[in-house]
Amino acid sequence: MTAAIQTRELTRVFDELVAVDRVDLVASTGTIFGLLGSNGAGKSTLIKMLTTLLPPTSGGAQVAGYDVVRQAQLVRARTGYVPQLVSADGQLTGRENLRMSARLYGVPRRERAQRIADALAFMELGDAADRLVRGYSGGMIRRLEIAQALLHGPEVLFLDEPTVGLDPVARQTVWTRLRELRARGDTTILLTTHDMEEAELLCDRIAILHSGRIQTEGTLAELRARFAATRLEDIFIRAASTEIDNRGDFRAVARERRTAHRLG
């Protein structure tokens, strides 16, 4: 299997803080890779580097076969990103949001309408397509954002806490869609989450990030064997609490609560 995402010694330093510290990870094509960690562990910073939004301080990464710094444009063309923040525009309809993405990603005019219709149908938003997004439920907004990120057929999809703030039913719907996407085998998904159930259900491989470092990484079975524990939650607590994490990130917490508030 080829690697859709590969990082080597990927590092990002903000002033004094080493947010991401020499991270090496590999995600194989067609799999779902889960990145777990507490607030301020470095998950969002890592995703920002992989999506070309943030240049690394040192080290590097390849996404879809291209370097995130030197070939950023090629990486952007081959990836989709759903930020943790609510990125859909509430003052537009679902279809208008998708149309803007299609134009920015260069989807040819003659294929636009069909692709938008397909994406809406896949995410079960056909009926709501022409309603303003500010009237959508949290689950619908997330599904629309995923539809937007899939419109151009990306090789790699990045999801930053895709189900934060969603009710259990909405969460299930998002999971079903993501599993279906994996079943097709051509899209690699990297997601970050706090949700152990989500990681257990969806992810082929899991990495636990703490203070910017990868503490442990493997399939769920490998992690269970390594930590002699069944529940991912126990594994997480043991992997992530080698020291008490007092690197609290006020902005990250505020952002997450805001997102949860807007979706919930």
């Binding site: 990103y81 260069g106 057929g153």
Partner: protein, 273 residues
Amino acid sequence: MPSPANAAPLTAWADRTRSPAAFAEQVLAIAAVEVRKLARDPTEMFTRSVQPALWLLVFGQVFTRTRAIPTGSLSYSAFMAPGILAQSVLFMAIFYGIAVIWERDLGTLHKLLVSPARRTALVAGKALSAGVRGLVQATIVYVIAAALGSGPRFDPIALLGVAVMVVLASALFSTFSLCIACLVKTRERFMGIGQVLTMPLFFASNAIYPLAMMPHWLQVVARGNPLTYVVDALRAFMVNGGALGLPLDFAVVVTVLVALVAIAARMFPTLVR
């Protein structure tokens, strides 16, 4: 089950996002969104025209009567109408950066910046959006000025000239605002700076008094202020009162705009870091 990824790989399209046609498509995609929003909720445009209306009505009427400002053959209300039109565009555009910071806080900006669209196209798209707003705003002020007897021209060349300059000026000041937003990064700090910038830009220009009556040092400052050239062109088109010449006016405004777009395109990605 229909699927969004069932066709041939699409990435080849996305690699073509650097052609001039794709550039235009990206600029228009950003601007089209703005037009939709404006059409859906135009109330802001009307509340924004209250201030210029007051300037024309109160300030303009009083100074026309006192004849304190020498404006040659033009009445003072005719002289100041282009200045107030430019002011309304400036005040709208200079706070554009706040909207962009707001989009960053919401998350919509991240979506634009992970796309393969060129950064210059994103910035130019935002600038054109401001141009559309400026145009709507200018139309309202133009009608008010006409109704108050400031006598702006209504022939096609005048209207076209005013429209083009209004779009360029909105684009220029909104892009300037975007650069400031990239520097200060928060809405609170931006509000403070926005207030500090607007008044000097407005008063150190030929908007409400001619260059000739300024002290020398202020003339020098006003000559370096792009708003002066915007006002001069608008005055030429609206009331035949330009003093600097249209070629110079357009050359300055276009040059500054192009430079600002290039600078903003470099700064824009730092907003989401």
